[in-house]
Structure formats: structure tokens, C-alpha cells
Symmetry: C2
Amino acid sequence: MGLWYDEHYKDQIRFGLKVKQTLFMGQSPYQKVAVVDTEAFGRALLLDDVWMTSEWDEHYYHEMLVHPAMTTAPKIDRVLIVGGGDGGTAREVLRYPEVKEVVLVEIDELVVEASKNYLPTIGTAWDDPRLKVYYQDAVAWVQNAELGSFDVILIDGADPVGPAEGLFASTFYEACKAAMKPHGVFVTQNESPVIYRDTHVQTIRRMAEVFGSSHPYYSTVPLYCGGEWSWTWASRETDPLAVIPERAALVEQSTKLYNAEYHRGAFAIPNRLKRQLGR
Amino acid sequence: MGLWYDEHYKDQIRFGLKVKQTLFMGQSPYQKVAVVDTEAFGRALLLDDVWMTSEWDEHYYHEMLVHPAMTTAPKIDRVLIVGGGDGGTAREVLRYPEVKEVVLVEIDELVVEASKNYLPTIGTAWDDPRLKVYYQDAVAWVQNAELGSFDVILIDGADPVGPAEGLFASTFYEACKAAMKPHGVFVTQNESPVIYRDTHVQTIRRMAEVFGSSHPYYSTVPLYCGGEWSWTWASRETDPLAVIPERAALVEQSTKLYNAEYHRGAFAIPNRLKRQLGR
């Protein structure tokens, strides 16, 4: 038998991995943080008993959060990451030599500490001099950020319950828009389009209200309930499908999932959602 | 707590659904057949304790198996379905008024009986006069089929262990090619590209050898381990991306997932597989 960790969704669905060893377990002011070593997915991070990322499948999530923004934004000098305490998003952003500064605002220092100690293969860029880390509530941080100062903003938060709830609010999107250049690109993880369908649709609509338009895109994250996952892309002036070939060619040398064709394909909207969104 | 059914993959990963009631459990000469009523996914079919389909998520699998073939094949008069005992594939094929005959060859009559009795919302087309059902080993059946007689062949079988193993062999693909018209389209479910990566890649290569080229495509099936799933499309004369607009417009009226844009997007190959396949 051995030891299993199961994430339960509404006491109806569970996804479990057999665990060789619990490497870390702690409680921060915000949440329970755990890192376990699993047989199938390698080392994995859980927050409040929900699977967040693993060594084996983290590229699905991080590549699809990062590269659709980074290959379309006209400039990528300054990038803001909200959340992202495991370091995977920063690592993907810092692959681009054009990037001059990455600001990572993570509310929970314990997530970063646990990830630095136990998930070193995910956060490989903590020592990059271009990266600045602040342990603060991003909602407040963005409201005080310099106006029009970011080229790309990436929201790498958890489900909209607990500490990440404010990252799905219109007021937060307004603050991000103000902190971003007009050509800037904003992308948020946007949940499972089926398991969290209401949140998913509401987020697309809110972002369209704030930014003028919004574009959901879809792929898989094996660790997340149901496997289907989504992100949503928005910009005032930039086209989500106009991939800059040089940038794509650069990252395609090392990506496991992402390439320019996959990028464009991911923006096709499943039919039922298309109908619901009126697109 | 309540009762849970968990599918185990290699005693390393498990995906479980809470069950309200076991509706049917039987043993055929080929496999154990069960239908359970789950809280989250409605009624669901298991073969040898592996999740096969459910009322709630069956459209992901059936729409993506059927419509990429049916919207690209120049003619769709005669369609062969291999496996497909739950009836979902036949239902999607029979949506097209152009279809004159559908032959379904399923090895296990118990799967069809259990599905007819307990999954009536999936197999809604059993009484369509265009549908002929044979309970035979499809490998032998196809070898004796009239040459060049089918426009579309769809392989709707289980994993390549047990009764479905022969459906992944080159000899079977050769027999299918012989039974198909030159413009005909052949599609098989082709497993998880990560969990069953070796099978997945081998199948793409075998099909390319037999048909001249082959085209994998990707989407999600929430019920299947890891969520990511694939199918592979092949034809001697037809283009997988040349969707016939009238056919797509017809089925898009009722599909939950499939539309022409989603079809084209699904054929983008994840980067690591693209490298491995040399494409």
C-alpha cells in the first residue's frame, strides 16, 4: 500500500500520488505548505492540501503561463510576477536575454523558502541578478507601483479561495492595467474551465471590461483536477496571435511543450464556452 | 467517507470518484465490466477497473475521436467503428445526414448490453437503421472486409493491453488501409502522450509507415489519468486541416467541445514530441 496524498475536490473527486517521503511540512500565516517526494511526479508542492506543482509536470503550467505573453509583448524589459513562489515562472521569464528586471511579489515567504530548499530543479533562477523578490500582498503592492512601468504582468496565484482571492477582482486588474505600458501584456492563470467554470467565465468577462478585450487559452496540467487548465491573455494594444518569431525560436530550443504553433492552437475556445461567451 | 472507486496507474497515481451506487457488475470472456453512478461525473463505465467513459465527460473523448475525421473525409457514406461499445462514437457519427451506413465491430457484447441498459444518455443512436453491430474480433473482421469499401475508419478501443492489443499492430493498420477508399480517413485513439508515451510515439510512426503520413492531435479527457489525451489521424489522399465548412457548421450546432478552430488547434504538437518525431 504505502503512503498516498490525495487532493479532494468537493468530497467527490480525488487525485492521489504515492509518496516516498514527506520532505517538508510547515504552517505560514497564510496556509499549510508541504513538499513531498512522489513515485510518479518526483518532488511536489502542496498548499493547504492542494497540489500546486511537481518536478515532472511543472513545465505544462509554467511554459503556458509565461511564453504566450513573452513572445507577443513588443517589449519585455520589465516583468512583474504576482505569486510564483516556487520559482518556475521566474525561471521561464529569465530565459529571455532582453529582460532587464523581474519583480516577483509573493505573499508567503515560507513558499519561497520551502521551494528553494526542496524544489531546486524548479526554481533555478533565484540567483539571477535581474530578479527582485518582495514578500508582500500583491494587491497592495500593485496599487503603489509606478504607473506604466511594466511590459508584462503574470499572475501565478492559487485558486480564488484564501490568499489568492483578491487576484481575481476587477480592482486588481485595474491596478495592473495602470502599472502596465499601453502595449503591455497581462496573463493570469484562469483555473479549470469545467471544474471552476463560473470563475473561469467571470474572469474572462472582467478582464475584457478592464482591458478592452481578453483571450482565454487552454492546455493541460496533469497534476490539476480534471487535467484541463486555462490561462487568459489581455492587452490594450497587442495581438495575442502575433508571435514574434525570434523570441519563439529562442525559447523553443529548451521548452518541452511550448512552440509558436502550439501557442496559436491553444487559443481555440471549446465550443460550449464559445457559445456562453458569445464569441 | 462513502464508497470510492479509484483507478490505479502502476500503483503510483490514482484517480477516484465517489460512488452513489454500483449499477452493474459482470464478467465477460474478455474483461470485467462495471457501471457506477458517481457524484461528480454521473454514470460511468469501467473495464477491468479502468475508467472508460462517463455521462459528464464523454463528449471530450467522442467528439475528438469522431469529428476531425468526419469533417475532413471527402465522402462519409460508409463508416467503420472498431470497439465503441458504449455507443457514443456511433451517436456522433450518425449526426451527419450524409452517412448511409455505420458498421460497429465490438468484441464484447456485455459492454454493449451494459451500456444500453445503464448508459442510455451516451448511446442514443442504437436504434438508427443505418447502424449495424457485429460482436466479433475486429482484427479478423477487418481482414475479411470488402476492399476499398469504407470512407472513414475509427478505432475506439481501450489501452493496448488485453483485448485491444491487436488494434495497435501494423498488420491491423494494413488491413484497415485495404478496407478503406484511397481518400478515406483513419483515426485511432492514441493514449496519453506522457503516461503512455512509448505507445503514443510508436503508433504515430507505424501509421506513417502504413498510410504514408500520420498526424497526432491532442486534447483533454478529464476521466483519463493525467487528463492529456491524444488521437492520430491518417489518410493517403486527404488533408487533416482542410475542414469542410458545411460539415463543421452542422455539428457545431450541438457539440460541446469541437469546432473547426479547435480542430485545427488540436493538431499542434507539443515541443518535446515534435523533436522526438523529427517534425
